[in-house]
Amino acid sequence: MSSNIENFTEITEKSTAEPIYDTNWCHMPAEIKLKCIGKMEINERLSLRCTANAERSLVDSQKIEFYRGCFEGDDEEFRVFLNRNHRNYSKRSDDKNQFFEWINYIKKVGVFEKLVISFEDSLVDYEQFITNDGLFTAKNVKFSYCDFDNMIAVLRKLKDGVESIEINLTFTAFDELAEIYEIPQMWINRNSKIGTTFQVSINEIDGSFDEFLEQFTDRIVSTGEKRARIRTNNLDRHILLERGVDDVITIDFLIKFFRLMVISAEMKESEYEDDCKEWICKMNPEIYDYYDSESSFEESGDDSEDSDSQEE
């Protein structure tokens, strides 16, 4: 008991030796400031970081989670749309420098569930965009009508931990499609983890499955109507290329869906999963609702004229 009392006295003596607190934000310890900043929304953080360099460093050290972040740009203006805690924030600017300074802050602090990039015009000549070495932290990334070089620049700026990348290329990027072959080539060379997956949907490219196989003729292990399997430099691993084809998404379908996956070389053909509907829906959640003729009839109701013409 006496030792407890001694300890207690020691603790309380320590507490009385603490300085008397001031009541000003500037005298608050950094850890409390960070807790307060953690409770602020994006606009307040942006304002606070403009007050002084010390505050800017603190604000920039605090991550901020976004459900969705959309970065867009064309020849007229640049736009950012952010969604966090069911609130939307947007910023537009026709000043490239100002916009990218802002993007660099968001890139540094933002943790995105979904990140959408859509810069239609090439930014390769724009040093602040290309050379800035800050990385995006995102789980699901989508490139929508994005210039190919811009897309590659952003892909290089993605932190590890990305779960999916969706790429909707424009027709102008068609010539660059060969770049997609670099993905299996990278897996062949780098001994990638089993389960690593890349999915892509491409519009109106006839024979793209065969074109793809032509790139890897010397590595083909087996090939069929829906699947092809190629060797990697690691004897234990193969790459499975699957074409997303079933009763609804037929071989003549306008959009082609492909999935590339690193698999074990031991995997038997009987172990292949017929789950193309599942992975196609991940890329395009509405496609089956739209093209499945049965559900189309159900949804169209009494308007049979329209339904008939659609069927034709």
Partner: protein, 188 residues
Amino acid sequence: MSSTEQGTSSAAPAEPTTAPESAAAPEVPESFYYVHGKDKVVHKVSAGALQHSALIHGMISNLGYTEEQAKANPFPFENIDGDILQMVVDWCNQHKGKPTPPEDTNLPKQKEKLFDLVLAVNYLEIKELLTYCCKQVAMMVKGKSPEEIREIWMIPTDAEDEAAEKEAKKRAGKEAAGETAAAAGDAK
């Protein structure tokens, strides 16, 4: 539930008065402890209410004080203003044994008081109350421009910061020079 009484600056605190804890008497008698702030006003607080404070809870968990010993050894928090400690004690009592709500609208709106409360709560390690307080601090600048925030929170500009730093260095240099001269004089 707490009771307060104006104490003196002597080591033995004044006898606090006790208010009824609750309508239903607990089966096992509850233990009470005593705290006082800068103003020496002693607050009687139940061990259950003090559980919110990780600091105090850590202090008392192995003490095994009798009522008399607890009275004779109030926890002195000289770094916390009396009214702030009163707020903390009230909050702990209000939320004793209850799940904390997602919002707390009873926190002070006055800037200085709120900052003092934040610092006290941080010191006493009352996690939930600290979360409310930080949220309230963040609300103070909701929708404000950088200039407005600088004014509200008295944040010096970078130029003012630099000037203050230079001044401090100059002062430190002068003091060091004075000490050297004094030491040289002593040596002679």
